[in-house]
Subunit: 357 residues, 2 copies
DNA sequence: TCCCTGCGGGAAAGGGCTTTCTCTGCGGTA
DNA sequence: TACCGCAGAGAAAGCCCTTTCCCGCAGGGA
């Protein structure tokens, strides 16, 4: 690879001058020398060594991002938001997939720190795991101590800047909707129980049911991977254990799609025989048939805000932005089937007021 | 940020020794010194500066990847394959999204070269744009001249190693299937015409129709963005111009999903009134309703092979691996409707032999 | 006893770039 | 004419590591 001194030699100037021309430094350089340098660059196909540059320059410009999996639409949307702001400010993003492995998350924090990123964004649910949380916070604190900026998306544990989707209210909205439609036998297809996102959404859901004098026993919850296959499998287990279910809440849309697949395979009509609710409102939700009723989270906006937080001025106290969840009614949730109502021995409640927001 | 000399000073050793301990060098170091260094590392929360390391070390280990968009399932799958091999070999991947912007692709080649990647993989359709192709090849040649390895996925233009999905045969299979089902009025929802993927798939499709004595006039093709909304919109235009269509071939699955949305909105039953064929077989294809009949491409395998090519031994002559397309019959393609057959005034042909492969 | 060998450790030379500092030569002022 | 100031270029000092080279020392063989 050609180096800067190759260019300088070829142009008959010093490396200092060559550098100034190439970087458009503020120091003036004669047009003639400038021409010569530019010509040499072109001839040698010179590209500056980014590592040498980063080493020599003082200021750090890239931003590190740790997500569970960019190809998961949930994170793809968040990342879109992150990118938008980063690109506007001419920042490069380094994105790492942890695949929900806490150890890998820890490693990536180190890795990104080693790469001298100016800021770090952790997106995706935290874990109910004290040892891990402590370790992570130590690492983040060490990073912040050296001037690094940190923001998290959807994690309670970190004490600094955060963007929080209102998962609990989202769960609540889902529960209220289903109650309003008269459902009593509600099953839940949940993500891994170690994730705070799972427990938050579950808590909101449970609260809504409790308020309506219903309950959510553990036997009506199945935990599985937060993806399509996890949803399909959990739904199957749920149905096997409790064929009387009239509604299923999936704790994210991928799982909901898996749930729909299982229901279709078993010949259960949605929403006539059984209702399904998703969570997140990822783009595909409107394109499945029937279109998915779900709880929308402003995913892109979450990314935008987190990046703005981290690239903006530092605040004296941590800022926490809570973004609202919103119920999106489509076609997978309907009133509880008549036959079941009879069986259940109670009339369905009247539909409660609009639960949008 | 703590540096290696900070660690060395604290441990009372030379930077050389500290480096050896930290990197597990082959040179032996007394246990006592090792302990001291490790302790200092922990106390200072030391993380080596990756840029300094890359500068000091000679060998390059990261691999650069340029795709259109990782969050597009097509590329997500390919990337999964790339990652699998890279991770096995302890390589880091730098993934860049060009969003189908040729200039951005050119920039990213420079960027990745500047980051000293050991190899470069370009995935995604090439462009019918000679000026761009020449520029790109020049840049790649310059990179290869300095020892960089290059492989492309799905691009004809590059003269080196390549993994090529058999788009043309895929198009052919789609056409043959539809002919076999008796369709004559076939519309095409195509991606941007500047993409070679579009024209390749179209060419195969056209060949199949021609062989069956049918044709594919330009008026039955609509070009749009290669995504869901593009597919929805192109389908609408197609239907407006030609309401007699009995089948639609979408040139990728995202577009097919958009097509299904438009058809649903217009109350056209799939496949009873109109058939739909997709392309790629991305994971969601089996989860839409009706499940999408499509042409499968071995996406993950494409990634695996490209990465293997680029990390394996250099071949004296360019290697081109062509990966077969395969028809996957699901529920969106059916026989041409009876009423239309009558209108068309000709009996449907007998279904031709199995076209799988 | 002397020399050679080998081991553990440090000094120092890069690696490619940026940037400060220094130097030269010119135009302008007193 | 002498001096000052400044523009434009180069020299050189880092930035933070890795790794080669070298040195001192202890142990073993002759």
């Amino acid at each position: 690879m050609a180096t800067l001194s190759d260019v300088a030699r070829r142009a008959g100037v010093s490396p200092a001058t060559a550098s100034r021309v190439i970087n458009g430094s503020s120091k003036p350089v004669t047009d003639e020398l400038r021409e010569r340098v530019l010509a040499a660059v072109a001839e040698l196909q010179y590209v500056p060594n980014a590592h040498a540059q980063l080493l020599a320059r003082s200021h750090r410009s890239a931003v590190g991002v740790i997500v569970h999996d960019v190809s998961d639409p949930y994170f793809a949307e968040i990342t879109r938001g992150l990118q938008r702001v980063a690109t506007d400010q001419g920042r490069l993003l380094m994105i790492c997939n942890s695949y929900r492995d806490p150890d890998r998350e820890l490693e990536y924090v180190e890795l990104l720190r080693g790469h001298q990123v100016a800021a770090l964004i952790l997106a995706g649910s935290g874990y109910h795991d004290e040892a891990f949380t402590r370790q992570l916070n130590e690492k983040l604190a060490a990073y912040e101590a050296t001037g690094g900026r940190v923001a998290v998306i959807g994690r309670h544990e970190h004490s600094g800047d955060a963007v929080m989707p209102d998962n609990r209210t989202g769960g609540y909205l889902a529960g209220r909707e289903l109650c309003g439609l008269g459902h009593r036998a509600i099953g839940v297809v949940a993500g891994p129980r170690i994730l705070t996102t799972t427990t938050d959404r579950l808590a909101g859901l449970r609260q809504a049911l409790t308020e309506q004098g219903r309950e959510l026993p553990e036997r009506r919850i199945r935990y599985a991977e937060f993806d399509r296959d996890g949803g399909a499998e959990a739904t199957a287990r749920l149905l096997d254990a409790d064929p009387e279910l009239t509604a299923i809440v999936a704790l994210n849309d991928s799982m909901a799609i898996g749930a729909l697949a299982t229901l279709r395979a078993r010949g259960l009509a949605v929403p006539q025989q059984i209702s399904v609710l998703g969570f997140d409102d990822m783009p595909i939700a409107r394109d499945v048939t029937p279109a998915l009723t779900t709880v929308r989270l402003p995913l892109v906006d979450m990314g935008v805000r987190a990046m703005s937080l981290v690239l903006g001025v530092e605040a004296p106290t941590p800022r926490v932005e809570v973004l609202p969840a919103e119920l999106v009614r489509r076609d997978t949730a309907g009133p509880v089937p008549l036959s079941t109502r009879a069986t259940a021995g109670s009339a369905p409640r009247a539909r409660r007021g609009d639960s949008t927001s």
